[in-house]
Symmetry: C2
Subunit: 224 residues, 2 copies
Amino acid sequence: MARAPELGSDVHRERHRAVLETAARLICEKGYEAASVQDIADACGLTKAGLYYYIRSKEDLLLEIQNYGMDVFEERVLLPVLTIADPVERLKTCMEKNIHLVTEGWSKEVTIILHEHGTLTGAARAQINARKKRYVHFLESSFEEAMREGRIRRVEPRVAAFSFLGMVLWIYKWYRPEGKLGSDQIAREMQDLFFGGLETVKAKKPARKPATVKARARSKEKAA
Amino acid sequence: MARAPELGSDVHRERHRAVLETAARLICEKGYEAASVQDIADACGLTKAGLYYYIRSKEDLLLEIQNYGMDVFEERVLLPVLTIADPVERLKTCMEKNIHLVTEGWSKEVTIILHEHGTLTGAARAQINARKKRYVHFLESSFEEAMREGRIRRVEPRVAAFSFLGMVLWIYKWYRPEGKLGSDQIAREMQDLFFGGLETVKAKKPARKPATVKARARSKEKAA
């Protein structure tokens, strides 16, 4: 939020994004210590001064990359699903969107820095951890809500939340864009794997009510 | 296997294990470049010469730690389940044993180096990747076998294998030994989450037959 003014125009936003993704790639390849500001500037096709227009300092880079990762995650995954009333649909759509983000949304190195680089300390670490925890709490409370409404059988919300996350986030370790498994198929298979055993018979009831054409079309769309 | 002669006595094996776990902790804390052989020797309570009795070189350390991790994994998780005839029981027991390994079997830092340090190159990298791939293939072929035998519904074996792995291996990122969730409970919950929706009606049939008191008690236990 505090960085919004800097992200004024779309062009600037795109270049800022490209700088952070390039920096993430170099940090993953060379290590944080070994990747110099000059290396990052070269890789971005910028002078050092030009690079400093986009980043405050090398020290700040890891935090910038992680905040960028969390910004995109919230924009593309979390915010669009918050308004879905049914908790199971909310969780399923969230899983699908998060899988698409991990497979196509940004460079793999952003995910690596977001989830593997324990190098942040102090306030920076606390800031990123708070953003990550918000996601865990969202998942836990959605599972709790789904149980209360009888939409799923009883689960331990914390184990369910972290199982969901583990399945989805581990994808960056094995997914190959050129492989035979596309992200749509992975999303469908994981939704079935995860929710197939959770949803109660009651949850399948809507099919028994005389469904409207629109509702049927929507559910077909989802299944396709 | 090639290292077996060095691991002759139990005492030596225990010290070797302690050295590798201490080195793993230092590498995770300081970074591989920054953690010197002297630092590692100090942390182990050894002289540099004494440390070299256990490790060949600093360069070799990451490979040693990963091979140690894979040795313990194969000994405690993979080998004991290979002989289980029923593929679903094999997979469930494998999940349970792997969860226990991640939560209690060794230091968290061994898992981190095993799964996050992409620093190995060439032959060393190929060696560890081959050992990891053996596990993935074991899981895939067990899922395939379970489908052939009608024990589970249709799944994409690769997605199922990596979903299994993601759930189980992500645990090192959130598990706290002092937390309220014990590893037994996590194992039970994850087995139910993962296999609850996979097993076919055929597999659940015993419950439809007039259940014995024992069987009913057992299923209550599972639900608790």
